[in-house]
Amino acid sequence: MAASGPPRDGDAASRPMIEIVDLQKTFGENKVLTGINLKVPVGSTCVILGGSGSGKTVLMKHMIGLLKPDSGKVIIDGEDIVPLGVEDLQRVRGKFGMVFQAAALFDSMTVFENVAFPLREHTRLSEDELYAKVRAKLDLMGLKREVESKFPSDLSGGMRKRVGLARAVVLDPKIVLYDEPTTGLDPITTDYVDEMILAAQKGLGVTSVVISHDISSAFNVADQIAFLSKGVIVENGTPEQLRESQQPAVKVFLETWFGKN
């Protein structure tokens, strides 16, 4: 368990890598985010926990500039990305790696080509250097040499997630975003994915943001958990602090897990 107790909002012990200030987003008449405030310190793992339809994925897409808010700020590594244009956003996105819910691997490419893709796009490495770098990341994720030439459709869900993470960290980003990394996986593979997230944080020193509704997984990997309900963060703190929360939405949600275990 990696509950090292990061500072809560307002504690300025460390500069936040990600800071969200009063973020609001509406789709049509549906108010999805109604005033999000969040700080994620450098090198920590923040899990954004909440039920389906609570706005978790929308919040994550704002962090990487895939969506523009109606109002509010999204400050990444000290820079507000909301007013940035396409070119500047591309520069900021270089700081990110993202692991998608269904991995989002390019199905026309092999595993090797998928992981090598960001390197081919953003570096001028020789083929040997490129291979060494891809191999190192695949090793970190426990993926053997035979997997390299396989296509995503030939892989299991867990393996796809691992390839997705290898691709996300191949450029050594400062921040890795995980969108529902354990959804649809069996308990053993879920544990493996949790270890993978911790390994990426410890081995690469990245700041991680994990979107999840998996309580067990959240408590396994989080330094900080923000609970999202009806478009606002109703509780934010260490896993222990969340466990003691008196917020009705948090209590009901956690009881579904801790009530039975």
């Binding site: 897409k61 520069r91 998608f100 691997l105 199905d107 796009e121 975003l177």
Partner: protein, 271 residues
């Protein structure tokens, strides 16, 4: 004692109101799609002149859209020319003017049919594949993945496809005309007994370079329109497999309609 005034139940909209509402919605959808396609076209133009130039992707699309369509376009052209020669010869025989079969087929093919049929074939073969592939990439978050990797999806995915449509459909138009004229020659000379000299000389007399240019210009316009529409529909697909299927259907209908509408408009401008 207080009395409550009964509230009047809301009236169901009549058939006329529903028809007007349906027409209005359809009109808004059409205008919105045209706006989206034009905006995407401007985006593609902007990104096509920026580095990095993705030649590998471009050649892959030129191969898929152009080289991959050679057989089907050639075959369609061959049979179109043969049928056209057969039908026109019947009519011209009434006036004892069979020598006009060659020029009639040549003018019809080069000015109109070659560009229209080639664009329709490319729409069915390559446009549907473009739309489905992009739609699947969109709903499986592969497009988002590109963006998160700081790769512009318009430049990476759409520019090569649109350029391939713009470049290859005019070439396929020329191929269609050539195959069509070959078919017409075969039917006219071997089947209908028109002398080869008459067929070729009359065709040369009537056919001008401007007729060929007209077909090529139309091919380029249709190729651009079809590629943009298919890319636009696929790129904006949503709602899983059903959404991709719906986007592809819409792309096919919109592409076919745009070919015929643009055929008239370009013809009007050129003449």
């Amino acid at each position: 004692m207080t009395t409550q005034t009964p509230t009047k139940p809301a009236r169901e909209p009549g058939m006329f109101t529903q028809a007007v509402a349906g027409f209005g919605k359809g009109l808004i959808d059409v205008v919105s799609t045209i706006g989206g396609v034009v905006t995407l076209g401007l985006d593609v133009a902007r990104w096509s002149v920026r580095r990095p130039y993705r030649l590998q992707n471009l050649f892959a699309q030129l191969d898929f859209v152009g080289v991959g369509s050679i057989f089907i376009v050639g075959l369609t052209g061959l049979f179109t020319g043969m049928v056209f020669a057969l039908q026109t010869s019947e009519a011209f025989r009434l006036f004892d003017a069979e020598s006009l079969v060659g020029p009639t087929v040549a003018l019809t093919l080069t000015r109109e049919l070659a560009a229209v049929f080639s664009a329709l074939m490319v729409t069915m073969r390559a446009g549907s594949a473009m739309c489905t592939e992009l739609g699947t990439m969109r709903v499986t978050e592969q497009v988002d993945a590109l963006e998160t990797m700081a790769v512009n999806p318009v430049q990476y995915l759409l520019v090569p496809r649109v350029l391939a449509g713009l470049v290859m459909v005019p070439m396929l138009t020329i191929l269609f005309s050539t195959a069509g004229m070959s078919g017409a020659y075969f039917v006219a000379v071997t089947g209908l007994g028109i002398s080869p000299g008459t067929f070729l000389t009359r065709t040369q007399q009537w056919l001008e370079p401007a007729d060929v240019y007209e077909g090529v210009i139309k091919g380029a316009v249709f190729g651009l329109a079809v590629a943009l529409i298919c890319c636009y529909k696929g790129f904006n697909a949503s709602g899983g497999a059903k959404g991709v299927g719906q986007a592809t259907t819409e792309a096919m209908v919109a592409s076919a309609l745009s070919i015929f509408i643009l055929d008239f408009l370009v013809g009007l401008i050129l003449h």
